[in-house]
C-alpha cells in the first residue's frame, strides 16, 4: 500500500506536497538568477524596478570575461580529447587484459574521484611550482585530466563490458586486421560510452573551480576562476548574466545527451 500511489490515502498529498516544495527549492534559485540577470537593479532587488540587457552587454564588452571563457573552452576541449583517448586505452586493458589485479588497477584509476579535490589541488600546486606549470594551459589540462579520467574509465569500461567481443573476432576472421576491426566494429558499437565519457570529461573541466583557483595566474584564468574572484568582491549582476548563460549551456548539453541517447537506442 505504501508503494501504490492510489492506495496511500491522505499520505499521498503529504508526499506530493514535500516533493513539490523540494522541486521548487531545486528550480527557483536558477529561475531567480535568470530573472535578476535582466533586472536593472545593481543590488539585485526582486522584483526588479525595470528590465534591461545592460549586464549581458557588460559581460560581452569586457574582454576579461570572454578571454576566460575562451581559455576554459580550450582547456576543456583538450581535456576531453585526452581523457577519452587515454580512458579508451585503459578500458581495453581493464576489460580485455588477462593479468591479475585488474580490479585493483580499476580502483586505482578511480581514486582521483573520491580524493577531496582540495588535497589534490594543494599537492599539484606544490608540484607544479617546482615544474613551473602553474598558470599554464598544460598545467590546467594535466590537473583536470586527473579528475576527468575516472569518468571516462567508468563510462567506457561499462560500454565495453556490454559489447560481445566475438563480433570483433568475426570481423578479424572475415579478413579485417585487428586494428581495423577495433576501429570499424568495436568503436562504433561502444559509441554511447565514448559520448558519455566526452560529455562528463568536458563538464568536469569546464565547471572545475578548486584545482583552477590554485593553478590560475593573473594572466591565465578559466571562467569559474573569473567568477570566483569577482564573487569575492561583490555580487554584481554581471555574474547573474554569466550564470544564466552557463545554465543555458547546461540545458543545451542535456538536450544533446537526450537526443544522442535516442539515436543510439534506435
Amino acid at each position: 500500500m505504501l508503494l501504490s500511489f492510489e492506495r496511500l490515502g491522505w499520505w499521498k498529498w503529504v508526499l506530493v506536497a514535500i516533493t513539490g516544495l523540494v522541486t521548487a527549492f531545486l528550480l527557483l534559485p536558477i529561475l531567480f538568477i535568470a530573472a535578476l540577470s535582466f533586472g536593472s537593479s545593481q543590488w539585485l532587488i526582486f522584483p526588479p524596478p525595470s528590465w534591461t540587457l545592460k549586464w549581458y552587454r557588460e559581460f560581452f564588452a569586457d574582454p576579461r570575461w570572454l578571454e576566460s571563457a575562451w581559455t576554459s573552452l580550450q582547456i576543456a576541449a583538450l581535456v576531453t580529447l585526452f581523457s577519452v583517448g587515454i580512458g579508451l586505452c585503459a578500458s581495453f586493458a581493464l576489460v580485455r587484459g588477462k593479468f591479475r589485479g585488474r580490479e585493483t588497477l580499476k580502483a586505482f584509476f578511480l581514486t582521483p574521484m573520491i580524493l577531496p579535490v582540495v588535497v589534490l589541488a594543494v599537492a599539484l600546486y606544490a608540484f607544479f611550482l617546482r615544474l613551473g606549470l602553474n598558470g599554464t594551459v598544460t598545467g590546467f589540462v594535466l590537473a583536470h585530466l586527473v579528475v576527468a579520467l575516472p569518468f571516462s574509465v567508468l563510462a567506457i569500461t561499462n560500454a565495453l563490458e556490454g559489447f560481445d567481443k566475438s563480433i570483433e573476432d568475426a570481423a578479424v576472421l572475415c579478413g579485417a586486421s585487428p586494428l581495423e576491426a577495433k576501429f570499424r566494429v568495436t568503436l562504433p558499437a561502444i559509441g554511447h560510452g565514448l559520448f558519455s565519457a566526452a560529455i562528463f570529461s568536458f563538464l568536469t573541466s569546464w565547471d572545475e573551480v578548486v584545482l583552477a583557483i590554485f593553478m590560475a595566474s593573473p594572466t591565465l584564468q578559466t571562467l569559474p576562476v573569473r567568477i570566483w574572484t569577482t564573487l569575492r568582491q561583490d555580487l554584481t549582476p554581471v555574474i547573474a548574466s554569466a550564470s544564466t548563460l552557463l545554465v543555458l549551456l547546461t540545458i543545451l548539453l542535456m538536450l544533446l545527451v537526450a537526443l544522442v541517447r535516442k539515436g543510439f537506442k534506435s
Binding site: L26, F46, G85, I114
Partner: protein
C-alpha cells in the same frame, strides 16, 4: 570459409612481451599520467607534513593540540553531519514519491533534479548568496508574510552553508535512494496491509528498513563529500565556522605554511579514505561515484 578458420587456428598465440603482463600495455598512458600527476604530488605533499619545518610529528601535534584547529575539525564534522541529516530527511520522501508517482510527473521532477545537478557549482552558490542576503528575496518574503520584523542573517553562518550544501547534495541522496525503493517488491507492503499493519507500522517496520541500505550509502557519500568541500563553505560560511578544506587552502595560500597545510590535508585524506573503506566494506564498488 574453411580457409578463414584455418588461418585463425594457425594464427600465432598472442605475443607476450616478457616484462609486461598480458594486455596491460594499453593502460600505460593512464598509469603514467596518474603516477606522475597524482601519486607523486600527493605522496610528496604528505612527506612535507613530517619533514617541514623540521622532521617529526610537530605539525600534527600543533594541529591536534590547538583549540583553534580543533574547532575547525569539530565544525567540519558538524556541518557535514547536519547536511547529511537534512538531505536524508528531505531526500527520503522525495525518492519515495518519485518511485511511485505517475511516470509523466516523475520525468519532470527528474529533469529539474538533473538540471540543478548539472548547473555550474559557482552559479548555484551565487544564487544562494543573492537569495539569502539581508535584502534578498528570502528575507523580504518572510517580512511580507509577517513572520519576522528584522531581516535574518542567513549568509556567512551555519544556516547559509547548510542551505547551500543541502542544495548541492540532495541529488546524491535522492538518486540512489530512488533506485533502492524502486527495487522493493510492492507485494511485501500489500501483505503487511492484509495482515493488518497500519501505514505507520508498515513505514517503520518494512519500508524504512528495506530502504536503509540506500540511506546509508547515500548518506555516507554525502558526508564524505561534505568533509572536503571547499567552494560553498568558503562563499556562504562565516569566519567563525571555517571548514577543513578552507583551513588547508589558507595554510598554503595565505600563510605559506606547507608543513601545517599538508598535515591538515593528510588528516582530511585519512578521514575520507577511512569512510570510503567502510562504504566499500558495506556496499561494494557499485555505489562509488560523485565528488
Amino acid at each position: 570459409m574453411t580457409q578463414a578458420s584455418n588461418t585463425a587456428m594457425l594464427a600465432p598465440p598472442p605475443r607476450r612481451r616478457g616484462w609486461l603482463p598480458a594486455g596491460l600495455g594499453p593502460a600505460t598512458p593512464a598509469l603514467v599520467l596518474l603516477t606522475l600527476f597524482f601519486v607523486v604530488p600527493v605522496v610528496s605533499l604528505l612527506l612535507r607534513s613530517v619533514l617541514e619545518p623540521s622532521p617529526g610529528l610537530g605539525n600534527y601535534a600543533e594541529l591536534l593540540g590547538s583549540s583553534t584547529y580543533l574547532r575547525v575539525f569539530l565544525n567540519t564534522f558538524l556541518v557535514s553531519g547536519l547536511v547529511t541529516t537534512v538531505s536524508l530527511l528531505i531526500g527520503f520522501p522525495v525518492a519515495w514519491t518519485l518511485a511511485i508517482m505517475p511516470g509523466r510527473w516523475a520525468r519532470i521532477v527528474f529533469a529539474i533534479l538533473l538540471l540543478s545537478m548539472w548547473t555550474n557549482l559557482l552559479a548555484r552558490t551565487y544564487a544562494w548568496m543573492v537569495l539569502l542576503q539581508r535584502t534578498g528575496i528570502v528575507n523580504k518574503t518572510l517580512i511580507n508574510l509577517g513572520l519576522i520584523d528584522q531581516p535574518l542573517t542567513l549568509v556567512n553562518n551555519l544556516v547559509g552553508v547548510t542551505i547551500g550544501m543541502v542544495y548541492i547534495m540532495l541529488p546524491f541522496v535522492i538518486l540512489p535512494l530512488y533506485g533502492v525503493i524502486r527495487r522493493i517488491d510492492p507485494s511485501i507492503l500489500q501483505a503487511a496491509a492484509l495482515c493488518g499493519a497500519t501505514k505507520g507500522q508498515a513505514l517503520r517496520r518494512i519500508l524504512l528498513p528495506l530502504a536503509a541500505p540506500g540511506m546509508a550509502a547515500g548518506g555516507l557519500m554525502v558526508f564524505v563529500m561534505s568533509l572536503g568541500y571547499f567552494v560553498t563553505p568558503a562563499l556562504l560560511g562565516g569566519t567563525n565556522n571555517m571548514m577543513l578544506a578552507e583551513l588547508i587552502a589558507q595554510f598554503v595560500q595565505s600563510l605559506v605554511n606547507w608543513g601545517m597545510g599538508s598535515a591538515a590535508a593528510f588528516v582530511l585524506l585519512v578521514a575520507t579514505l577511512a569512510l570510503y573503506a567502510v562504504q566499500l566494506r558495506l556496499f561494494g564498488t557499485s555505489q562509488m561515484g560523485g565528488r
